[in-house]
Amino acid sequence: MKKVTQISVFSSLFILMLLAATSSSAQNIKPDTDNAGLTLPKGFAALKVADNVGRTRHIAVNKQGAIYAKLERLDNGKGIVVLKDTDGDGRTETKTTFANYIGTGIAIKGNYLYASSNKEVFKYALNENGDIVDENAAATLVTGLVDKGQHNSKSITLDNAGNIYVNVGAPSNSCQEKDRTKGSMGMMPCPILDSAGGIWQFKTDQLNQTYATGVRYATGLRNVVGLDWNNELNQLFVTQHGRDMLNNLFPDLYDTTVSAELPSETMYAINKGDNAGWPYIYYDHVKGKKMMAPEYGGDGKKTVDDKYINPAMAFPAHMAPNGLLFYTGNQFPARYKNGAFIAFHGSWNRSPLPQEGYYVVFVPYENGKPTGKWEVFADGFSGKTVVKNPRDAQHRPCGLAEGPDGSLYISDDVKGTIYRIMYQK
C-alpha cells in the first residue's frame, strides 16, 4: 500500500513536472520586467518570446505552443521559422527553418499548415506533435497569383468547410492611368480588378488551382493584409489599407490635414459576392459616408450611397491594419472573447503630421457586432512617443496569433521580435 502511494506520488509529481514543461501556461510564466517595452491594460503582462528572428510577417501557433512565422526575407535561404520553448519558461530556445520562398501568409487548420509566397499558396501535413511531417513535401494549392511588388502580400485564412481565402492586393494606389501621378484619372472600369483588388476562395483539397478554378469571393478591396475567419459568426472579416495621397494627387481638392486623416482604414464583414468599392470610392469615418474617389469625379463632397458595402468598423487613415484576429480563448477577461484584435503596422503618409498606428487595438464585439468603439490594447512597439519618420520605429506589429492557452502572440517585421501577451490577474 505504501509502495503504491509512493509510486502514485512520484508519478503525480512527474506528471506535474511534465505539464509545467510542456503547457507553459500563462500563470507559470514570468513576464519581462518591462513588459517587453509595451504598455498594456491593467492585469496584462508581456514578454519577448524571441528576438531577431528575421522579418516575421504573419504567425501561427500550433496546439503544442510552437510558433510558425513567415518571413519576408529569406534566412539562409529559408522562409518559414519554427520556434519552440523546450523548458517551459515561455521563451523559445530552438529555431529551425524551412521553405525556400518569402511571403506573408501562414495559418494552421486541423492537421495542416498553410503558407503563402507572393504568388502561391502551399500546404504541409502536421504530425501528432504539431511538427511538419516532410518539409520538402509542400502541396501547391494555388499558383499564378499577381505579384507586381506593390501590395503583393498574400494573406490567408480558412473556414470550416474546406476553403481557404487569399487576399490579392491591387498593384496600384487608386487605379489611375499613371499610378500615384498627380492629376492622372482613374481607368473605367478598373482593369486591375480582374485578377487583384479582392479576396479569392480556393479549396484546401485541390492542387494547382488558379484564377480560372478559384472563386472571386469579394472585390473592390485595395489591399487586405489582415483577414480572419470569425467562427462565432461563420463569416470572413478583412482589414483594408485605404488609398494614399489625396493631397499630393489632387491638391486643389484636399489639403494636407484632410489627406493625413482620410480616407479611413476599414474592417469589413464579407459575404460572397460583396464589393467594397475600391477604386471608385473611399470611406470617410468623420462623415460616416462612402465618398466618390477624385480619380472618378469625386471632389471630397460627393457621396455614393448604393452598391458598395459599408465597413463594420472604420479607423483613422494610413495606420496600415496588417493583422486581424478574433479572440476565442478563455485566458483574457470575458469582454475580450469574440472581439477583434488588429495589428496596425503604422503609417507613412500622414506627414507633415506625426505618423500614427504602430500599435495593436482591440475592437469589442457585442452580439456579433462591433460596439463601434475601439481602444489601443498594446502600445510602445516603436520605442518612440511620436513617430515622425517611419524608419525611426524600432518594432512594427504585423501578425497576430492565439496560443493554445489563450495568450496573444504578436510578430514584428522590423527586428523579428515575437511578443506574447498574457492576462495574469
Binding site: E72, G149, Q150, H151, N152, K178, D179, R180, T181, K182, D244, M245, N247, N248, W348, N349, S351, P352, K388, N389, P390, R391, D392, V414
Partner: protein, 139 residues
C-alpha cells in the same frame, strides 16, 4: 621673378576662394529653392528625414545612388519615374515612383541639389546646364 610668382599664386588662391564662395552661395540658394519642391512633391513618400519608408519607398539619405556621380540617372528618375523593381543598397522597394515631368529644369536642379546636400548627404550640387543637357537626351 620670385615675387611676381608669389603675387600670381596669391591672386590665384584668392580668385579660387572667391569663385568657391560664390558657387557655395549659388548652391545654397538652389538648395533652399529645392527644399520647397521637396516638401511639395517628394516628402510624402521619401519623408522629412529623407529616410523613405522601409520596404515601400527608397531612402534618399545616405543612398549611394543619390550621392553618386551618375546625375543622368537621378534626372531620369525624376522625369520618367521608376516602375522597375530594382535593388537599392541591398533592399527592394514596393511602390512605384511617379514621373514628375511637369517640373522645370531649374526645379529639378534645385531639388537634386537639396537632396544631395541635406541630411547626411554631402554630394555636390547639380546645375541647370547639367539638367538641360541630360533632359534633352531623354525621350
Amino acid at each position: 621673378m620670385q615675387r611676381i610668382f608669389l603675387v600670381f599664386v596669391v591672386m590665384m588662391i584668392s580668385f579660387t576662394t572667391v569663385t568657391a564662395q560664390s558657387n557655395n552661395k549659388l548652391a545654397a540658394a538652389s538648395a533652399a529653392r529645392g527644399k520647397m519642391v521637396y516638401l511639395q512633391r517628394c516628402m510624402v513618400c521619401h519623408q522629412a528625414d529623407g529616410g523613405g519608408v522601409p520596404k515601400l519607398n527608397a531612402p534618399l539619405d545616405a543612398s549611394s545612388t543619390v550621392n553618386g556621380s551618375d546625375i543622368a540617372k537621378l534626372v531620369k528618375y525624376i522625369v520618367k519615374g521608376l516602375n522597375d523593381r530594382i535593388e537599392i543598397d541591398g533592399e527592394f522597394y514596393a511602390n512605384a515612383m511617379p514621373a514628375a515631368d511637369d517640373l522645370k529644369d531649374q526645379q529639378i536642379a534645385d531639388v537634386l541639389t537639396f537632396i544631395r546636400s541635406n541630411w547626411s548627404n554631402k554630394a555636390g550640387p547639380v546645375s541647370l546646364t547639367q539638367v538641360k543637357q541630360i533632359r534633352s537626351k531623354l525621350k
